[in-house]
C-alpha cells in the first residue's frame, strides 16, 4: 500500500481528489509525498472528526509534510482562491468565532465567524481570515509571545 492509499484508508480517511471533495469552499494541501489532500466535512463517526487534524496525524505518523496550501473554491474562480507561500515552515487552519460584550448599545452583541488559513515562517504565523459573511482580515502572530498561544492545529515541517 502506498502513502496515498494509506491516507485514504483508516484511520485517516483523507480525501485526495477534488472530485471527492463535497465542500464548496475548502483547503487543499500538497504533500511532499506527491499527492494532494482536500478538506472534507466533519465526521462525528470517526475517532477524529476533523479532517485537518487527521491530516496532521497522518503527517506525524508517516514522516511527511505539507509543501504548499491554498483555500480554494469549486467554481475555480482564481479571484477567490487564497494561495499561501510554498515551502513554508508550517501550515495552519482553524475556524473562529468572536463576540463583543459592551455597554455601548450600537455594537452590543456583535458576532462574526470566520475560517483561517496560515503559513509559518520561523516563529511568525501569518493568517488570512475569511469571514462567513464575506471579506477578509490579516493577522500576524508571534508564537513565542505567550505560552498559551501555541496552536494545536499548526502542522510544522
Amino acid at each position: 500500500m502506498n502513502l496515498k492509499q494509506q491516507a485514504e484508508g483508516a484511520p485517516y480517511h483523507l480525501v485526495t481528489s477534488m472530485e471527492e471533495c463535497s465542500l464548496g469552499r475548502f483547503w487543499v494541501v500538497q504533500l511532499d509525498a506527491d499527492f494532494e489532500v482536500y478538506q472534507s466535512h466533519d465526521d462525528p463517526t470517526l475517532d477524529e472528526s476533523n479532517s485537518w487534524m487527521r491530516l496532521k496525524q497522518f503527517c506525524d505518523d508517516n514522516n511527511c509534510r505539507p509543501i504548499n496550501m491554498a483555500f480554494a473554491s469549486k467554481d475555480l474562480n482564481p479571484g477567490t482562491q487564497i494561495n499561501l507561500d510554498p515551502l513554508a515552515d508550517g501550515y495552519f487552519y482553524t475556524r473562529r468565532a468572536r463576540k463583543l460584550l459592551t455597554g455601548d448599545p450600537r455594537l452590543s452583541g456583535y458576532q462574526d465567524n470566520a475560517q483561517g488559513v496560515g503559513q509559518l515562517h520561523r516563529n511568525t504565523l501569518k493568517i488570512i481570515w475569511e469571514f462567513d459573511h464575506g471579506g477578509m482580515e490579516f493577522e500576524t502572530r508571534h508564537l513565542d509571545e505567550h505560552p498559551k498561544s501555541q496552536p494545536v492545529s499548526l502542522i510544522r515541517k
Binding site: 472528526s49 475556524r95 452590543s108 452583541g109
Partner: protein
Amino acid sequence: MNTLTFIAPSGAPASGTIIEQLDPPGNTSGANHVGFFGAGGPQGVPFAIIVDKYQDSTYITNTSGFNMGVAPFGVKASGELNNTKYDGAVNLANINGVGGIELSGIPQLSGTLLIRFVPSGSTAVRTQNVLLRTVVLNASSGIDDITGVVVGLKVQGFEPAADALWTQTAGDGALDNRIFFVDHNAPDLVHDFFVSLSVSPEAVGQRNDFGMFFIIEFL
C-alpha cells in the same frame, strides 16, 4: 450557527442569568450589559467607583445602567454578579467582600462571567488560542484596532482555576489587552470559559466606550 453567550456563573447571586446583549434588537430594558460600581451598586449609594480604586460591586444592567437580571427585575441581587476585586497585589483578590484570597485557589464558579461556546452542528470540537480582549470603541461604536489598549481606565482579569496572577488589559501600565484561556484539548459539544474582571477608573465620568471581545478558535 456558532453561539457565544455571556452568563452569570453558578456561584453568583444572579446565577444562570444570560446577558442578553440587546437580543432581540431594541430590547434596551433587558439584562443587556455588565456594569462595575461602588459599594451601593447601580441603584444605591455610592454607585460610583472612586478614581484609582477598584469596583465594590458588579451587576448585569439594562441599557440605562439599572440593575437587571432574572425576574423580579429591580430587586437587589437579581442581576448581581460575583464581585472579584483586584486586592492590591497581582496574586490577591477580594471576592464579594472577603479580601486577601490567593488567585490560585479561586474556583471557576466565583468568576465574574461564564462564557459558553456551542459550535454549530453536532460535532464535538477542541479549542485553541481563546482570549478576551479589552477593546477601544470609537465614536461611531466601531473598533479601529482590536489590539489597541484602552486608556483612562484600568482593567484587570484572570481565568479562575487556571491563573495565579492578574493580567492588566487596560489603563496605565497595561502592555497588552489580552487575557489568554487554557486550551480545551478534549473535543466537546459545549465549552465553558470563566473569567474574573476588576475595573478602576483613572479619571471621573461614566465609561462605555470600551468592550470585551471574546475570541475562540476551534476545530
